[in-house]
Amino acid sequence: MKAVAYELERVSSVNEALSALARDEFYKAIAGGQSLGAMLNLRLAQPECLIDLDAIAELRAATVHGDELVLGSMTTHAAIEDGKVPDVTHGMLAHVAHGIAYRAVRNRGTVGGSLCHADPAADWVSAMAAMGATCEVVGPQGSRRVPAEQFVRSAFEPDLNPGEILVQVRVPRLSAQARWSYRKHCRKTGEFALAIVTGVVDPDRGIERLVLGALDGPVKVHSGPGLYARLADPAERRALLSDPESGLSYERRAWHGDLLASVVADLGAKQ
């Protein structure tokens, strides 16, 4: 199908983008357009005007500052997959990037666009939460930081107020002994996941974190010392999945349960 008629305005700096978006709260920013393009063609999105962030060079920079990788929101999945971005995660970023959609999509799709689209089944939504990343948002009132695990408020609803854009994702460096696991269940390579389970264990920083993703809304995060030792017990895993708080459907308990066992096996191996 064809998109509804819309205007397209190309901007070349963050400030230009902010003043363009400030003109009308129904204007929408477009990054790589690999999700929004489909939504436009399906007429699920019908914006009056798109503000095109493609030409903003500063949003493509990726640099290491101290113990953080500061990833410009317009960094493409392919750039991360190909190792063009400094790796502070022992390969987790590249592994996750490689599993997103298809190469032709990864060549244009961006980390920030994917997070702002806020599809709960998108890979970065779960992976950034597991890595403990922080989203840096700028808007008319200045900038603010949101933990990645809270950035998706509900399905397709990012923590962005009118006129705000995501400019950076700050990924903390994993220490030398840290390990990660990222597992997802797709019926076909490249499609959105039916279930995602991912975890990071970083003993030097005292982090044990588990994320269940591809749910109806935000990710579910479990963390704390001894988490993975406890989850080595299948009864503990069943209890975690069937907890009414988690709100997992019968199917999801099976899918996520299967992946959870793998993640625990991945992360428990060298303890």
């Binding site: 064809k2 392919a78 959609a101």
Partner: protein, 169 residues
């Protein structure tokens, strides 16, 4: 009796595209995606349109040397970029090898997916010279074919992977 048709006002813009090394000046709406601009405005109908939501891969073209979907974004967003469609790959030696292998291995029947398949296959051979069959299947997952069952396409790509890089050395 004549009834005047009431068409809504159309806002068209000028778009300067570089396709296969040639400059095209296209007059289209901002919503017109690149695949439509190529087919309807540039007369380059080698790029096919299947699903128009990024799943089928029929519209895959090269943008600055890397494959991208041409159905997902406004043509305006490709100004200043080099677009290469299957038409330009007539004289490309690697694509000639792929075409011969596609014929030999029955990697197409109706041919609808083939332009996108060739662009993707060319990217696989150039980017992943050591890919095994599992990786080739993985990389081809973004291009749907409803005729061949894929085995012929995988065989063709595997064959070119095994011969192309030896020939290059």
């Amino acid at each position: 009796m004549t009834v005047p048709l009431d068409f809504p006002e159309v806002n068209e813009v000028d778009v300067a595209l570089t396709v296969n090394g040639a400059r095209y000046r296209v007059h289209c709406e901002p919503r017109t995606h690149l695949a439509d601009a190529l087919r309807e405005h540039c007369g380059l109908t080698g790029t096919h349109i299947g699903c128009e939501h990024g799943v089928c891969g029929a519209c895959t073209v090269e943008v600055d040397g890397a494959p991208q979907r041409s159905c997902l974004q406004s043509a305006v967003r490709f100004e200043g970029k080099q677009v290469t469609t299957v038409e330009a790959l007539n004289d490309d030696p690697l694509t000639a090898e792929l075409r011969a292998a596609f014929s030999a291995h029955h990697a197409l029947q109706c041919g609808y997916c083939t332009p996108g398949m060739l662009i993707t296959a060319r990217d696989i051979v150039r980017r992943l010279p050591h890919a095994d069959e599992a990786r080739v299947r993985d990389e081809l997952a973004g291009n749907l074919c409803r005729c061949t069952g894929y085995q012929g396409i995988v065989d063709a790509v595997m064959y070119v992977l095994s011969t192309h890089h030896k020939r290059e050395q």
